[in-house]
């Protein structure tokens, strides 16, 4: 059996990279090891013994938890990396089944057709619901096929998406919108959480590395 010893530097890096994605953790490890070796070299050249130099170099790095807190603000966390990997489910599904693209584009058209039928029958009040359903479905299902691939278009699309979502609830509940705020909030928490995570990823990744879903 071989004993595994963790050096103070390994332990510092382990705490500083907690919850970071594998790539981010590897990047942090590389830069901290590089920094540590330079500090060690300088101290040894100045006449400090190796053990003291190592202790001083680790101490100079400061509190690993504070560093972890700052790293999580600027590098991808494991949850964000997972969202980035798996967040393009529409694109992957469509690539695997080309008929799905037609279906995703056609689904919002169905309630829209129902809206027109109801309007032609003079049922304007009742036509409101299929129209809202069409709008909401369009914002989500047709989004991957829209030409949204610049930060500016992304901002416009996101503003339109949230305006449409709020409009759907306001039109659906009318004057009772505030009364049913709890229902709206509980329905929207997943899109809000997704949007917040995407915002955080957008801040951390250069635009050149953004996948399609980050624009939406």
């Amino acid at each position: 059996m071989t004993a595994r010893f963790e050096t103070p530097l390994d332990s510092w890096i382990g705490r500083a990279t907690c919850d970071l994605s594998l790539d981010s953790a590897a990047q942090v490890r590389a830069e901290i090891v590089e920094h540590f070796e330079s500090a060690l070299e300088t101290a040894i050249v100045a006449g400090t013994n190796a053990a003291d130099a190592e202790r001083a170099a680790v101490a100079a790095l400061g509190d690993a938890r504070a560093a972890n807190c700052q790293y999580r603000k600027v590098l991808l966390t494991s949850a964000e990396a997972k969202m980035l990997r798996e967040g393009n489910w529409e694109a992957r599904a469509v690539c695997a089944r080309p008929w799905l693209k037609t279906l995703m584009q056609a689904v919002p058209a169905i309630p829209l057709a129902v809206t027109f039928v109801m309007l032609s029958r003079g049922e304007a009040a009742a036509a409101r619901l299929p129209f809202l359903a069409s709008l909401a479905l369009f914002m989500f299902l047709a989004a991957p096929f829209l030409p949204v691939y610049t930060p500016w278009r992304g901002r416009v699309y996101r503003a339109a998406k949230w305006a449409a979502l709020i409009a759907v609830f306001v039109l659906a509940f009318g004057a009772d919108s505030l009364k049913y705020f709890w229902l709206i909030a509980s329905c929207l928490w997943i899109p809000i959480w997704t949007e917040a995570t995407r915002m955080s990823i957008r801040r951390k990744l250069p635009v050149a590395q953004w996948p399609k879903q980050l624009y939406l």
Binding site: W12, A16, V28, A30, E31, I32, E34, H35, E37, S38, A39, T42, A60, L61, G62, D63, A64, A66, A67, Q70, Y71, K73, V74, L75, R203, K204, L205, P206
Partner: protein, 103 residues
């Protein structure tokens, strides 16, 4: 001495003098302040990543004494931000000095 919030400006200033790697940036800040500004070196890299995400610095790989290292250089927008930060700091410093000298 705690200088929270000014680290990005100090990094930009160090990089405006010449492109450098993390360890040298830390040493330069400490040496230029004659040891008064002593910060935890583990916080230097998150600050560098933040500046890089904002496009104020750019990184590249370089070799020093046979060792591959990540170097950072200030960008054009980084220089503009540094100029603005410098003038804001001078103004703030002048104002605080005025108040403290009156006391």
């Amino acid at each position: 001495m705690n200088f929270k919030g000014t680290l990005p400006t100090l990094i930009l200033q160090a990089l405006a003098e010449e492109p450098s790697h993390g360890y040298r940036i830390a040493q330069r800040i400490k040496a230029r302040s004659k040891g008064v500004l002593d910060f935890k070196e583990g916080t230097l890299y998150p600050a560098l990543h933040k500046l890089e995400n904002e496009g104020l610095v750019a990184s590249y790989e370089g070799v020093e004494q046979g060792r591959t290292r990540r170097y950072y250089r200030i960008t054009k927008s980084g220089k503009a931000v540094l100029t603005k930060d410098r003038s804001e700091w001078r103004e703030l410093s002048r104002a605080v000095t005025l108040i403290l000298e009156e006391a």
